[in-house]
Amino acid sequence: MSGALEVVACPMPISIQDLGRPGYRHLGVPLSGALDGLSLQLLNALAGNAVDAAVLEMRLVGPTLRAGTAVRVALAHATGSIERGGESKEMQSLPPWQTATLQAGDCLRIGQVSGGAAYLAVSGGFAVPMVLGSRSFYARAGIGASLGVGTKLPVTAQAPEGDERAVLPAPTFDNEDPLRVMPGPQAGHFTAAAFATLYGNSYRVGRAADRMGLRLEGPLLQHDPLRGADIASDAVTPGAIQVPGDGQPIVLLADGQTVGGYAKIATVISADLPRLGRLLPGDELRFAPVDAAAARAVRQATDAWLAAQIAAIRALPPAGGVDLLALYSQNLVDGVIHAH
């Protein structure tokens, strides 16, 4: 059976994303995929999906959606309110990191979201067509499905039988630690003072911030006057920190182009890309250097954290356990879950 979630209101751009579109970067096709791939995987596990299923990505303000069929949903980094259809018009809050089932006619309203990337998963994943191996939308070349008011997002799976809900003790994502970077690949284009500046100061995310990249504001990074800012274009990747001639760094994100002509002072390690993806204009960030071995250790720790979070997903008893649900949402029974 298939059905749809119809977009009823959509104040900010939304897009379908999965883990991206590898394999076509030599043809100029960016990786794309969720800005925060870690939340995507965790939310999919909660919804009972394969971790790489397609989800809806939102920034700043989420949409309102109406279910055309019964569908199980869950939110990351956002709180929704469910307005039941029919005569009851009952309202129910949907906190992040727990599932709920929408019946045909129900509306899910998602207001302001926290951070630069929030997600809605449906059980079975959004069934928009695969293009070049991925369901991720890439706006600049119109690859994938463009969404707006009236779009009916196809959903594959019927909601599971019964009313069993799953919940995760709200994971802690945000911290003030510096984003870890590996120097280069054009370290030689910068003075030692530029590295000291990069590691010794905080930078602010400027207003020019979208899925392609973040323009940062802060102390200028000086190029080696003999080498300059421009290079014969070479490949870039999400997390690469380009520094144009004006000395203000630009960090590339998932939709960043595949090659670039500015010297790159450093590259954010892959495990820290989800934190980068959640930043908003005005947010402050710092950078700290690591080597390849340290990056590997962080990657392993992040993978272990994700596995532990997935293992902590628990079923909730059917309605009537409302008090327990409230406790979960307030994270007061965290210890109980870990004690198992």
Binding site: P22, G23, Y24, R25, H26, L27, G28, V29, V131, L132, G133, R140, A141, G142, I143, V181, M182, G184, P185, Q186, I231, A232, S233, D234, A235, V236, T237, G239, A240, Q257, T258, V259, K264, T267, V268, I269, S270, A271, A292, A295, R296, R299, D303
Partner: protein, 250 residues
Amino acid sequence: MAAPGAAPVKIVELGDAALTLEFGNRIDPVLHARVIAARDALPRLPGITDVVPTYRSLTVHFDPRRLAAEELSRHLLAAANAPQQSALAGCNAPNGVRRWRIPICCDGDCGPDLAAVATATGRAPEEVVAVLCGQPWRVFLIGFLPGFPYMGELPEWLRLPRLTTPRTAVPERSVAIAGAQCAIYPWQSPGGWHLLGRTPARLFNANDSDQPALLAPGDAVSFVAIERSEYDRLELAITSGEFSSRNFSV
């Protein structure tokens, strides 16, 4: 072994999930031939996700869970020393370089900057078109946009800086020049290059997963000037699906 006198190669880290093999730091057909030869010699190791050749470097994106950077480095160094198959290298076809004859129309609104380029270079518009269509251009890399080919190199006299004020919307399939490069915009996009003509050829088709981009690094592209009426006829045939742009291969 590398050719005698060839500059030493260098491997640099692009974060923890990509390595770049550098042959040099400039735009140079000789370096590019080595890049393409290395691309073709690199084994398809499990964990490699993308192999991206540029003017003078080869970047390999990989999953650090599945492939260690040290192992990839060894293979990259071996590939860097792979023999080139011909003086031109860039062997995208079994018999050598893959060649294209891409039609372009430079008339009227198809080439809005042709007159200004002619004025800036002190040549007649016909001479600019004759040079653009007079020799094959090497595809150095595909980037900026899906299917966007960076080609070159233009003769010295035709090298102009980019427009001081970029256009907010370059029409799709515009043929453009800037510096030593020429290119084709596959999509409508902002852009600061000088627009000399327009092709009816479709450069990217996302629904063709085998060969979504018409052109690939290492290809040779010759432009063939056509009249506006022929442009309109081909554009209609291509957009309606009657005619495939792959037929421009020779």
